[in-house]
Amino acid sequence: MTILSIRDLKVNYATQDGTVQAVDGVSLDLEEGQHLGLIGESGCGKTTLLKAIVQVLPRNGEIVSGEIKFQGMDLLKLPPAEMRQLRWREIATIPQASMDSLNPVQRVGSQLTKLLRVRGGYHKKAARKRAVDLFDMVGLDTERLMHYPHEFSGGMKQRAVIAMALALEPSLLIADEPVTALDVIVQHQILEVLRQLERELNLTVMLITHDISVVAQVCDSVSVMYAGRIVEEARSEPFFTSPAHPYSLGLQQAFPNLARPRDVLVSIEGYPPDLREPPSGCRFAERCPFVQDDCHETDPQLEAVGDGRLAACLRSSEMDSLRIQAEDPTLWQNVEVAQYPHPKPLPHKEGGASVAETNGGTAASASPSLPVGEGAGGWGDESSDILLEMNDVSKQFKIGGGLSGLLRGDKEQTVYAVNNISFTLRRGESLGLAGESGCGKSTTGKLLVKLLDASQGSIVFDGDDLSAVDDRELLGFRSRVQLMFQNPFEALNPRFTLYRSLTEPLIIHGWKDESERLQRVVETLDRVNLRPAEVFLDKYPHQLSGGQLQRVVLARALVLHPDFLVADEPVSMLDVSVRAGILNTTRRLARELGLATVYISHDLSLLQYTCDRIAIMYLGEIVEIGPSNEVINNPQHPYTQALIAAVPVPDPTMENPPLRIREGVPRPTEQFIGCPFAQRCPEAMEACLEIRPPVIGDERGHQAQCHLYGEHRESPPLNRDAELAR
Amino acid sequence: MSRKLISIAVLAMMMLALALPVTSQSMGEVVPPIIVHSVTQAERPIEYETTRLVVENMRELGLEVEHRAIPWAQLIDEIWYSRTEESSAADRPFQMTHWRMVGRPERSDPDEFTYNLFHSSVRDGGYNFIGYNNPEYDALAEAQRVEVADKEARLGIICEAQQVIRHDMVNAYFIHPLTPQVVNTAVFNPDSITTQAGIGVHNFWTWIGIEPTTDDKTLITSTTSFLNSFNPLEIAGDAPSRVTEMTWDRLMRINPIGVPEPWAAESVVWEDQLNVVVTLREGMKWHDGEDVQSDDAAYSFEAALAGTMQTKDGEERFQPEAPDYYPFASNVANIEIIDDLSLRFTLNTPSAAFETSSLAKLNLIPKHIWEPIINDLLTQDDADVDSIQEEIPIGSGPFKYVAFDVNEFVYLEAFEDHWARPNIDAWIMNVLPNQEATLGQIQAGEMNFLWEWPGDPGVLQSIVDDNEHLDLFSAISIGMNYFAFNVRYAPFDDVTFRQAVAHTIPQQFIIDNIFNGLAAPADSFVSAALEYWRQCDDLPTYDFSIEGARALLEGAGYSWDDDGRLHYPAG
């Protein structure tokens, strides 16, 4: 039975600059018990569609035409009061950013019971009982009912919101990005909950996300939305094996996949069209590698393409051959270049780029195509000797101390952010730091660039101990080490033009000559594929897209020709379609320029794609380190195993194994005698609590710090109840 | 080298020699800038405007004059405490200031002003802050005090004193204010209102004599100043004085024409220059029902004389417990109780003002209440009667205490057992600093007797004109407004200069324009209200005339330079 049926829905937003046709003729059917995934880039109308269904569009939004039928009722003709009654009793919605969806000044439990009483007609007692049941159902401790939202972790909040959404036993659940911005383990747990509830409650679900691997895990069918239209509809399996629309194809190939790593990821460069004046032809034509002339004129309609699939592409009949072509990343790369047409391409860019990017071999061996050794601070490949050494480095923060803290009544606490980590980095090598949030990886990144000073231990950069540098030496260091930031929207001074932002490092480092600076800036912009560079010089950050901004950030990092780059979650804020582009460019340049790189990310598949080696961090310690493939394919530490197991795979046929650890990294306010992971470790033994685990390694440099491989491997398993009682 | 130096020196000396006679012959140094003090406009607009006017006229004499308007408290500081070289403000001693003396019944005798304002003995610490020091005058001031028996002779001395002061122009008197008072004649019989010379209609005689014409026999008045104490041994200001004089009787009272007459005393008989016998009325009662007896009267003076010797910074000092009244009792050498109703005062020195400033000044207080209080105070180092506030003040006056809220109101009612029971039943005084509110209340009938008006008299006049039931009374005050000169320093140490400045005061213009006619011209510290003491030959006059002032200065050798600036006489 069709539970939700949308016909030719059109939603417009009135803005100062014109009418945005956010949803433009969407038709959609949702059968009872179906789990539909609605995917697409941000800004393609997914959330608007949701808001239109439950009719909570903002003031400037208007449903222009179309029909939304829910269980036979025409929602658009329903009086507002009756529509209101439907919400959450029949159609439950989990809004985006559900982190902030709980009232911060009310206990979560009372929000839930209030909902049950006001909307569900429950009596006080019954409501309380139901609340307990619901918390149980989503896997939350019922004690938590008495807590305030700020005392919840992100995953717990998400569970609470799910509990609220299911409180009135709706027949349809629409979830908007339910796991975005959550740590991988938490994400895994939430998806587990969703999957379980789908099964138990026989829910009909519509899941809105940009992450196709999430869809693969939870949904049985997929709709792809692009620029206010649905461009493909399919069951999950055929969709993931053989997408029927070039956009789907691109999305699929843009995702790193732990199970089937690629040498080069595809990036769908460019942006969705301006929906104030949508193009008359295919809306994807601008970015499509398979574009033909008639694509620009003819607006393709959603048509059956076999296997019960629908696709809106003029070339859908040739899709099988297109799929094979699409395997070649250069096809998409050409699009990237085409996006910034360059009248006179630089000779040294050609070939080199594609060689480097298709080559994917070990890092430093790729021969850079740039002239080598340009004086002090130049980019050299003198030898493969050690560039950086971390020796037993620790970092603690004191919070709430001092006179003012005392007066404010804060008790001083020490946060052990980084504990005794050691590793070395060779010139040109790339290392990935992975772990859940709060594991100390960003702090390590800051220590590496001396944004923070280590509390103990030494960091030796190119032979100099960083704790002992004087101001002049520090300036020298600063010219050789750079940081690339997570959020490109914050990484640039909004008040500076790009030229000003890029020229600042040069000014600081004493480049007096304006024309030299300009030349360097232009050259660097060119190198990060922002062409023609002059176009960008006078722009302000808000005039650029996220992907472009991140390229500018990269350019600023490279403008001084550093030896060493730390990239802290360089693409986590970006849309999937452009992530790959940034990663590719960074990786290519690092190899071309012999740049040593440290990538910090919670996304192991990304690190596997970009890094020679990966280090796994937990509570400020490196628990495992080794060559990327080794760590991913042969994880030694139980924590690494859990992390890898939690990564969703964009393949509906592969179901992740159930996780054996709970979410939630404890706050690092104490130092552990034994293994910091012991509390969460499924393999924990008695020795883990008392004795520091040994570092066990093999000849390829794959090391793990765990008792499972040491002399205490025979230690009896930990009795957790006894431990809790202690 | 040295030759060159010498020639330069010689040349310079020649030039100096040439220049010196020219300057010294033609004019002296420029008269330095003068600061004229007054209170701020916000505090007393009339005084501020007057000062402004005079300052502008003084500038026409070629003087550089600054008008320094500061709050009263600061003014006191700069005037009172910068009279001598040792003072903290010695770098800027005051030169000229607007000053005001208010009229009080005890000032009906000229002694206080004659002696306390000008005698050289009060030059360093007392009211002679202008630093006037004239042995000839001192003799006159002392003589009038002793001249008890012969009133005519005393008048002669006082006239001479007025002549001296007027000639020496130590204080440039310009007006005696006419105190405007408004009475609601719809509730009071206007004929029953008594005007007291120099005080006005708001006086003791009016309070007990005024006849209410309606059933509501309550007199409601207000003050714009402070009502901060209700204490028979403290002089806290004008408004509290009204209250104490009604609540506590006195042996004598100043009668409407300014002469003391027996009041609580049946008779006051001078046995000689130093001894006076006072006999009390029979049957007087304290408000608590006790009899008023001669030992109460005696104690009233003893309390004022009570005190301890205290050592401070190695200096022995007598510390009176009632410092405000001590000066008025200090001439008493001995008090002898003759019987229950009569007692004899023996004085240290003969004093003509004894009746006015002692017998008619000191409040009679009940010994049975005050003796324990004073005795207690005598054991304490740093407390005096100012720190005492009786729960229910007990006096023997025609009015008795009902309620008192500091700086808010005082509420008295007629004392039924008094031999001169007032015609009204209750007397209420509100504190109303807000003049608008005062006007509103007198018009609305919320208040029926306006006795104090620091504001624009013209407004009051127009209100009275608009309201049939309001009558305006006005009387020349004992008080006066004047400019005081610090005679210690140049240029005000020169009598001619002071006289010239006196010529710049546009007396009539001030009366017409600033006081709206509600002021009388003044030429002496004795008010025209005190008719008897003003029966003197014409005092010197100083008409408003800038030319006159210039002529006077020119005659004394002052001169003006090309920029019109005034220079001292040469030499």
Partner: protein, 336 residues
């Protein structure tokens, strides 16, 4: 109350005490270094040097500055604000103790009135965002905030008291009535008192209502943009519930804090209103004391107002941390 909150409160309290001590020290220096002479109110034709010295001794002004400071602090701890220069037989505390209730009645009544009107107005303004009504309403509110209080008071006085004689012009009541008020309770039960309070209260409330109104309006607009408000819409709550129970409730928090702070600041800021309406409160006493150079009194009034402000700031912080659970023990409330 958790231990963290208890710690927070204790810490804030200690901080308030320290702030107060600094203020008290500044106050001491301010008044000791003042140019006016404390004896100004005593000057009379009979004033002698002897008397002067005695008076200085009586108020302890002849001692060295350091010694005076210690005495001053010790006395403050004993809640002894000293004797006034100009009110005989009364201590500073007596005078201020009589003033304080009047100031509090005036302040609280006006604040409650102002905040009731302001909060409701703010909700309405937020709900009617963009309408002509909102534009006119906010402009009017801005006007009331821009107009000098004393001026508004003067105009109101002219019409209501002088022209139409509807309301009394000043004070808290005629003496014939007032002397029967033996306790504060009697005063509060007296219709005369409330009649006298109407004009000053209205003037003050007219000025004070602007802050809560504008604050409530902007808070509402901010809260209405929050995800949890969207969430309650999505949850199918009625618009009334969304606006009042969720949005207004959350938007109220800063307004409540502002109210608490407002109590402190109004008590110090009522000076002008009390002057215009001759309201016997702390502010009027302070002005008169300053004019009269009655140091102990002015200092005492200043001190008392400062204590109330610091205390109210303290309460506001505590209140905020209690009302908004997010402001935990570690966060410093950034209100005001």
């Amino acid at each position: 109350m958790s231990r963290g909150v208890a710690y927070y409160i204790l810490g804030r309290f200690l901080q308030s005490v320290m702030v107060l001590w600094i203020i008290v020290t500044l106050l001491f220096l301010l008044f000791r270094l003042a140019p006016s002479n404390p004896l100004a109110s005593y000057i009379d034709t009979t004033f002698t040097k002897q008397q002067e010295a005695a008076l200085l001794a009586r108020f302890g002004l002849d001692k060295p500055l350091g010694e005076q400071y210690i005495i001053y602090l010790v006395n403050l701890l004993k809640l002894d604000l000293g004797d006034t220069f100009s009110y005989s037989g009364k201590t500073v505390l007596d005078i201020l103790g009589a003033d304080l209730p009047n100031t509090i009645y005036l302040t609280l009544t006006s604040l409650l009135l102002a905040y009731a009107v302001g909060v409701l107005g703010g909700i309405v303004m937020a709900a009617m965002r963009g309408s002509a009504f909102e534009r006119i309403g906010t402009t009017f509110t801005l006007m009331t905030r821009a107009a000098p209080q004393f001026w508004v008071g003067m105009l109101l006085l002219t019409f209501f008291a002088f022209q139409w004689k509807l309301l009394p012009s000043s004070g808290i009541g005629p003496p014939m009535v007032r002397y029967r008020w033996e306790t504060e309770w009697d005063k509060l039960m007296s219709p005369v008192f409330w009649r006298h309070m109407i004009l000053p209260t209205f003037t003050l409330a007219l000025y004070l209502h602007g802050l809560p109104l504008l604050l409530m309006r902007s808070n509402m607009l901010e809260v209405l943009d929050q995800d949890y408000v969207t969430m309650s819409r999505l949850a199918g709550y009625s618009e009334w519930r969304v606006m009042i129970q969720t949005a207004a409730r959350n938007a109220m928090l800063p307004v409540l804090t502002a109210l608490t702070l407002g109590i402190g600041y109004s008590i110090g800021g009522n000076v002008v209103i009390e002057h215009v309406f001759s309201w016997p409160g702390l502010g009027r006493t302070l002005v008169r004391a300053v004019q009269q150079a009655d140091y102990p009194l002015a200092q005492g009034a200043f001190f008392l107002i400062a204590v109330i402000i610091v205390f109210m700031n303290f309460i506001a912080d505590i209140l905020y941390s209690l009302l908004d659970p997010r402001v935990g023990a570690s966060a410093q409330a950034q209100v005001s």
